[in-house]
Symmetry: C2
Subunit: 210 residues, 2 copies
């Protein structure tokens, strides 16, 4: 395990901390589509993402959804952090966007390392900052952009996190992520195809140039 750890977190943590992580953490392989966290659940360990991507979603009372952001290699889940420390319930849903590899760290260690390692503290604070900025970026999108611009941004983000110019989603799935209706997405996608920016196929979309 130590090699993946070094590759992804070696520049952040000193060797002593890497060794500690190595000795207490467990590897976890996650298949695409698996639900990692559901709203209302309590969380007992904190994930460091080694590879793959995780979708973080918000759900309202009626079950309506909205994609907040993606977590990628080198990220951790800020919501999990504060759930662990503050003993709050999860307010979000996390689903594997791709097959993913995680390193799970027991809660007790988190607290201990925060006192002991400056690099760990910085990592935790930096994670919070990134997540807060992602949330604010999401606010920007919803508040300041029209649906066509949000869709464009969505396709860009998707191709980036999946490292694939083909977006493997149905119109309905995209509509859920952006909290709108399938018809609206079909309409806007068709416009993008006419503009030559994408090619529509059944169950997937080829991104040409955005």
């Amino acid at each position: 395990m130590i090699q993946e750890l070094k590759n992804n977190y070696g520049h952040l943590f000193e060797n002593e901390l890497l060794e500690e992580i190595n000795s207490v953490a467990t590897f976890k392989e996650i298949p695409e589509g698996m639900e990692l966290i559901r709203p209302g659940s309590y969380i007992k360990s904190m994930p460091l993402i080694i590879n793959g991507a995780i979708r973080i979603l918000r759900e309202d009372q009626e079950g309506d959804e909205l994609l907040l952001y993606f977590l990628e290699k080198g990220d951790t889940c800020a919501m999990t952090l504060s759930c662990c420390i503050g003993h709050h319930k999860s307010e979000i849903k996390a689903i594997a966007e791709t097959d993913a590899t995680l390193i799970m760290i027991p809660v007790e260690k988190m607290e201990e390392w925060t006192a002991k390692y400056k690099s760990w503290r910085n990592f935790v604070f930096e994670s919070y900052h990134k997540r807060l900025m992602e949330a604010i970026e999401t606010i920007d999108s919803i508040a300041f952009l029209n649906m066509d611009e949000r869709l464009l941004k969505y396709l860009k983000d998707k191709t980036k996190v999946n490292n694939d110019t083909i977006v493997h989603n149905t119109h309905q799935e995209i509509a859920y992520d952006l909290h709108t209706s399938r018809v609206v997405i079909s309409r806007l996608l068709k416009k993008l195809e006419v503009e030559g920016k994408i090619k529509l196929n059944r169950n997937n979309i080829t991104v040409i140039s955005l």
Copy 2:
């Protein structure tokens, strides 16, 4: 100074930390309407809010605004935290909603106390958590609510943070906060007045029952 500190933060921090805060922090009285932070600025000290309220706003490139949330007594600014620690630029704007009293803490101490005091770490993490939740609540509002519902929520929040059933704002000011146009706000406010929920006056709105 120690008395205000004890009153507002005594239940959170041990005496030793309170003494430390007392010895290095400075009091700051802020008049209503004063800009505390502007986007792009670097921040050198961290505020603990003793009383009053602070508006936290997001601004896009064109200068369009959106109210994110309020900070109140007992709160601190998460954006400031991560700006101090991570040496990031501010991404938000902060304006005094009311006259306010702040305790300013030098950046260096923050880092030191995070290692030294568990209660301080918990406070910092709790602050991050609260702010992330506020941001997500804002996302909920924009994504899942119509403008009339957002306006209602806005009026509720306003009466709460100001502890005053009279909202001292023009329709134009509310429109800026919700990132819409004055005409839309006038229209919806009129509807609320017809429903008997508010009473409209020049330069202010009396909230009857929401």
